[in-house]
């Protein structure tokens, strides 16, 4: 009350601002603001650049006489040399590696997140989180090396050398799972810690054990956050390149056998562009068409993940 009543008195004390100061134009300030706006706009330009480049070259690709849009999405063989452009083998290999990655990352990541948020002491957490950060910070080419020189030999020893190829999607997928584990665990842990303490207290008060509280109360409450994490992880796995380029094999193959070599979308782009690539060739245009499919897939996954995250935030805030 006192504050409100004193407000008008204060305003009568305000010094008359000299007109010159109030109205002064400051070209320097305006220039700086314009530059800063340009910096922000660079990101928009980047997006436009990506969409423009991918669409333009893809249109050139689809305009080529040997390419047919229907066959592109339904064809099961990708052999540019004889003009067969069916993207399914590449998509199929991508889905195979992604599935294996999620088979590793989802259970392990969730378990790690539950342990860190519901069981671990602060001391343990302080040790574990940096370890996970290190895992996430290792360049993917190193994981590729690991897949080829460590995981593949192990798989070949377990399942037999005739069964498992030197290059195979299982090895690449499993190692990719390790790469993605920190992403799943840290995002899920964030989701867990966003669950209000009162829910846990209520469960304990009803006589639930720690496990029952974690699995039946905290986990369902954090489900949307976890879903967002999983979708983002899938998007990351789909776009992951170096592990599959090194360990999954060179050469598109339409196979559901994870122990056979098969080239993913990203792996194919890297192999084709790593060679001597001449512009305006069908090879050059084709990688942009694959890139467009890849871009649309990951963008859709990211948007879904963000949408779920936004809804999730509204629940507890």
């Amino acid at each position: 009350m006192a504050i409100v009543s004193s407000a008008p008195r204060l305003s009568s004390h305000v010094v008359e601002v000299p007109l010159a100061l109030r109205r002064r134009r400051r070209p320097g300030e305006a220039l700086i603001q314009a530059f800063l706006f340009f910096c922000g706009a660079v990101s928009i330009l980047t997006t436009f650049g990506i969409v423009y480049v991918l669409t333009r070259e893809s249109l050139l690709f689809f305009a080529a006489p040997e390419v047919n849009l229907w066959e592109f999405f339904t064809g099961t063989s990708w052999i540019p040399a004889v003009g067969e452009f069916g993207i399914l083998p590449l998509v199929n290999a991508t889905l195979l590696t992604t599935t294996f990655a999620m088979l590793v990352a989802l259970p392990l990541g969730l378990a790690v997140a539950i342990y860190l948020s519901e069981y671990a002491s602060t001391a343990v957490r302080n040790v574990i989180k940096p370890v996970l950060e290190v895992l996430a910070g290792i360049p993917t080419v190193v994981y590729g090396y690991f897949a080829l020189t460590f995981m593949t030999p192990i798989l070949r020893t377990i399942f037999g050398r005739d069964v498992v190829d030197i290059y195979n999607t299982a090895s690449a997928g499993l190692v990719m799972g390790i790469l993605i584990l920190p992403l799943v665990s840290s995002m899920s842990e964030d989701a867990f810690s966003a669950v209000p303490r009162s829910l846990r207290e209520a469960a304990y008060a009803l006589g639930a054990t720690r496990l029952e509280t974690a699995v039946r109360v905290v986990l369902p409450s954090a489900l949307s956050g976890i879903t967002a994490a999983v979708i983002l992880a899938i998007s990351r796995a789909v776009g992951e390149t170096m592990i599959v380029a090194i360990a999954a094999g060179a050469g598109p193959a339409f196979t559901f056998n994870p122990f056979k070599a098969a080239e993913t979308m990203t792996g194919h782009i890297v192999r084709i562009s790593g060679g001597d690539l001449s512009y305006d060739s069908i090879d050059y245009d084709s990688i942009f068409a694959i890139g467009l499919v890849l871009f649309v897939m990951t963008l859709a996954l990211n948007l879904i993940s963000r949408a779920i995250m936004r809804r999730f935030r509204e629940v507890y805030e």
């Binding site: 800063l36 910096c39 378990a111 069981y119 080419v141 090396y145 390149t241 562009s273 990211n302």
Partner: protein
Amino acid sequence: MSRIHSEPGRSGMLDRLWHEDDDLFRHNLPGRHRAGRVWEALFLVALLVGILALTLLIYNIVDQSFGLVAVQFKVDPATLAVDGTPVEDLSGSQLVTLIRERVSKGVVRRLDSEQPLEERGRDDLLAIVMERVVDPKIVRSWSLTESLLKRAAIEAERADTYPEASLEFRSWVNLEFISRPQSSSPQLAGVRTAILGSLWTIAITILVAFPIGVGAAIYLEEYASDNFINRIIQTNINNLAGVPSIIYGMLGLAIFVRLLEPLTSGALVGGVADPTTANGRTILSAGLTLALLILPLLIVNAQEAIRAVPRSLREAGYALGATKWQTIWHHVLPNAIPGILTGTILSVSRAMGETAPLVVVGASTFIVFDPNGPFSKFTTLPIQIYQWTARPQAEFRNLAAAAILVLLVLLLTLNATAILMRNRFSRRLA
């Protein structure tokens, strides 16, 4: 009756709890606790698997970076000694004589035309002797574990398969490995070109990404009102962070390498390094591509740092009559800069390890000359690792492992700097 039906859960449960005393609480309690312990163990196992994976990864790399090798010489260096002086201690002129005697005429002529033998330094000459005359070849390599545990078996295999070779313990990471350029023979190959390429590329990335990234962050935090276009910019940055890095490579290939070739190949500036071969696939193109790649990450980090600066500092600035920019420049930025730098270092270490976009932009597969400016062809450390890993021979795997060690040490140094800065920063705030 109807009341109980409408709230069966609460009143029914409470009634029963009340009357049957604590039977319900105790219901199968040992079993539930057992399940709890089992699952806790499982969660812990998952954690250990994660740690185990990291351990195995590092073990695998170290295992391949050191170990026994079987070396075979074309000419035993002992036979090259002149008057009892071993070949390493020969004078420059003696080495020249040796080269003219032993190396084929054609090669000598080529070497002479590059730079006359007599004018070369002793180290250079010795390197030629080792490469052209002694010509050591690693015929077989073993991992560190094998070398330590199965020494006898390795000895037997060497005597059996490579009777002329000698065994020696080799650390694939060594000073020469770091100081030598790329080579097609594994024992002479080094990462000098790759390290320099990485440093050049990163320098350009920082020069471009840092000002733009911080500028964008300032704009979004200090200037942008909550209108349509600014919301679009913010959403767009968040979405760009999720675009696969290989897509940025394709953007770089189409825009920087192809469309802006006159600029990125240096033709416009007149600084053409090698016009016949570089054609846009230059350090500049690579650096710009990586800059676009890390921009979203850098902006988001910088935004957080700027947001953490207390509002009162800005108010104080305004109250003293400072303009908006003066307030930002003299008060907000100095306080946010440690956070901004930490975020920058983290983004840069991401760029340092990127491989896929650079392959797409067109890293060179084999260059032996140091990059001499933004318009020269390039290779980087991760690219080098990728190429060596892709080769079938085991010796190149060893080289790849050694290069990975170098890369990891570089990244670790960068990250440690970031963490130290973060700690210093948080202490200052506290």
